[in-house]
Amino acid sequence: MTTAMQFDIQRAEILEDREPKSGAQLLLESIAAQGVETIFGYPGGAIMPVYDVLPRVPQLSHILCRHEQGCGMAAIGYARATGKTGTAFATSGPGATNLVTSIAEAYLDSVPVVFVTGQVATNLIGTDAFQEVDIFGITLPIVKHSYIARDPADIPGMVAEAYFIAGEGRPGPVLIDLPKDVANALTTERHRWRPYPKQKPEMGKSKDIAAAEKLMRDAKKPLFYIGGGIAQGDGVQEIRDLVERTQIPVVSTLKGLGSLPNDHPNYLGMLGMHGLRAANYAVQECDLLIVAGARFDDRATGKLDTFAPNAKVVHLDIDVAEIDKLRRVNVGLDGSLKKNLAALDPFKDNAEHEDISEWTKLCYDRRTEHAWDYKSPITNMTSGGIYAPKLLHDLSRRADDSAIITCDVGQHQMWVAQHCYFDDPKDHITSGGLGTMGFGLPAGLGAKLGAPDRTVITVSGDGSIMMNIQELATLNRYDIPLKIVLLDNSALGMVRQWQEVFFEKNYSEVNLDDNPDFAAVAKAFQIDAFTITRGDEVDAGIDRLLSTNGPVLMHVKIDTAENVWPLVPPGRSNADMMER
C-alpha cells in the first residue's frame, strides 16, 4: 500500500539534529539529505539568505542559468534524463513569475521538480511589498502541491514531504515559498510532520485484470495505445514483454516514443495530429484499445467522439482520475503501470482466443505502404536544398544509440518525433503537454548535466531558440558539451503552416527573415558554430557536430515552405488526415 514508512525514514535523521540553524541552512541541508546534487537557480533579494548558506553545503552544485525559466526547464531536462527529482531556485516577484511556465511544463508533462522561491518577509506578505507576488496563489492550479514556510522548524519535514510528493505516484511539481525572515531565523526545533495521508492501490483488482484479459482474448482487432506513463512508471520492459506475449500491434503518443523501438515488428508509429497513417487507421478500426500510461490528449485523439469509434477500452494508469475522464472505459486498472502490465497475461495456459493474424497483417501492410520516402515536395534536394526530415533521420542514426534528443516546439518537434530513432522513451525529451517554445536549449543543458556520459542533442527552431537563447551563456560558463541543431526556416513555421492550410495563406506575423546570424550569435557566446545551407553539406555538418568535444551549434537553413505531413485538421477525426 502506501509508502508512508519510507517517508518517515527519509526525515528521521534530520529531525534528531538539535543544532541552532537558520531556515536557509535547514532548507539546503534537507535538500542535500534527499540526495540532490544539482540545483538550477538564479539569486535575488528575497532568496539571498539561501545563497549565503549555499557555499557551505558542498554536496549541492549550483548551476547559474541566465533566466529563471531557463532554470526551471533545465531542472526538468535533468529530471527527465536522470529519473531523479529536479530542483530549481528563484527569488520572489519576477523571479518567481519567471518560473511559472516551467512549473506548468512540469505539471502537464508529470515531471518531478521541487521549485523553491524566495518570498518577502512574513510581516510584509499581503502589503504589495517590493518584489512581492502571491506565487503560492498564482501556481495553485499547476502544482501537485505547494507550501509557504512559516516556521523554520517546519522546513526539514516540509522538504522531505515535497520531494516525496514530487516523485510518488504520478510525478509533478511541488513549490516551496520561503519568506526571507523564515530563511534568516535560527531555531533548535524540528517539527514532526504529519504522516503522508494517502492510501493508494498498488495495482488493479484481480477481477479487473481478469476482465481485461477476457477482452483481449475476445478481440479481433486489438491495439495498444501507449504514452508517457510507460517511461515514468518504469514499465518499458513490461510493455515489451506483453507485446511479445500477445503480438498485438502498438501505437504511441509523442511522450511514449521509444517505449518500443521504431523498428519493432509490432510498432505502427505515433498516432494523432501528425501521426503516421498506419497508426491512425489502426486506432479508427480497432475493436479493443488497451491504453497504457496515456490520457486521451486532444493532439492524440483528434475529435474525441470519433476516436476509436468501435473500440472497447481497457485503461491502465497510475492516476485514477485519468480513468473515465475523457473516454468511458470497459475496464480500468489504476495503480502501478509496471505491475499491471506484468500481471496481464491473457493467453496464459494456451487460453482460447480470437485469431488476430488478419488484423495484424492489415496493420503491418499499411505501415509498409505509408512508410516515409524522404522525397521533399518542396525542397529540390538535387539542386542543393536541405530537407529537414532527411537530416534528422540521418543524424539520429549516426548518433550513438544512447543519445538523448531534446527539442523545442513547432515543426521541428514533429519532424523529430516522426523521423528520429528512439529505443528508450527517456532518450526523447520534448514539451508534450504545454508545448513550450524555449524548452529545448535549457532542457538539453539540464539533460547533459544529468547524463554527462551520453551524447545530448538539442533540435530547435529559429522561433524557439530565441525564447531562451541566453542559456548559451550557461553552456559556455560550465562548458557543457551540448550539440544544438538549429533548423532555420526564417518563419514561425507551424503557425505559418496553419495559416497556409487553414487561413487561406493569410500570413500574419510569422515572417522571421530578419533573424540574426545565429552562428555569429553563438560565437559571441564563445560557442563553436557553423552554418550549412546545401544538401551536400549535411554529412560533413553532422560529422562536425558529433565530433566536436565542447558545446556546438549547427545552423541549418531550410525552405520556409516545407510543411509537416500528415496533418489532422483541428476538431476533426484522425481518419481525416491531410497529406502534402
Binding site: 503560492f136 496563489g137 495553485l140 492550479p141 501537485k144 502541491h145 505547494s146 509557504i148 510528493i165 504529519r194 495521508p197 494517502k198 475529435k303 474525441l304 467522439d305 492516476d319 485514477v320 482520475a321 473515465d324 475522464k325 475523457l326 473516454r327 483541428p570 476538431g571
Partner: protein, 101 residues
C-alpha cells in the same frame, strides 16, 4: 456567426449534485479544492465549510456542470488527488439514469 467547436464529450449535461469533502486545516486547501471544482467544469450553487472536532473541515458544495467531461464521481477522484483533501464523495440522491449505469 461561426459555429463553436462541437464534441459530444464536452456538451453540457446539466448535471447537478452535492459533494462533501473533508479537508485538512492546511493553508491553501480550501482554495485548491474550490479551484479544482471550477477548472474541471462546474459552477457552485452553494458552499458551506465548517470545522470538525478533529480539526479538519467539512466542505459541502452544491455544483452544476458548465460543460466539461461530466461525471461527479470523476470530480471526486480529482479532488481526492489533492494533498490535504482527506476524502471527497457525492451526497444526496442519484438520478435513475445514473443508477442504471
Amino acid at each position: 456567426m461561426a459555429e463553436l467547436q462541437r464534441d459530444k464529450t464536452f456538451e453540457p449535461s446539466g448535471i447537478q449534485g452535492k459533494l462533501k469533502a473533508v479537508l485538512h486545516d492546511v493553508q491553501g486547501t480550501l482554495l485548491r479544492t474550490l479551484g479544482t471544482i471550477e477548472r474541471r467544469g462546474y459552477d457552485y450553487r452553494d458552499v458551506h465549510c465548517t470545522q470538525r472536532v478533529d480539526g479538519n473541515f467539512d466542505l459541502l458544495v452544491h455544483v452544476e456542470d458548465t460543460g466539461g467531461p461530466n461525471d461527479l464521481d470523476l470530480l471526486c477522484r480529482q479532488l481526492e488527488r489533492l494533498y490535504n483533501v482527506v476524502s471527497a464523495e457525492r451526497v444526496g440522491r442519484r438520478t435513475r439514469a445514473e443508477h442504471a449505469e
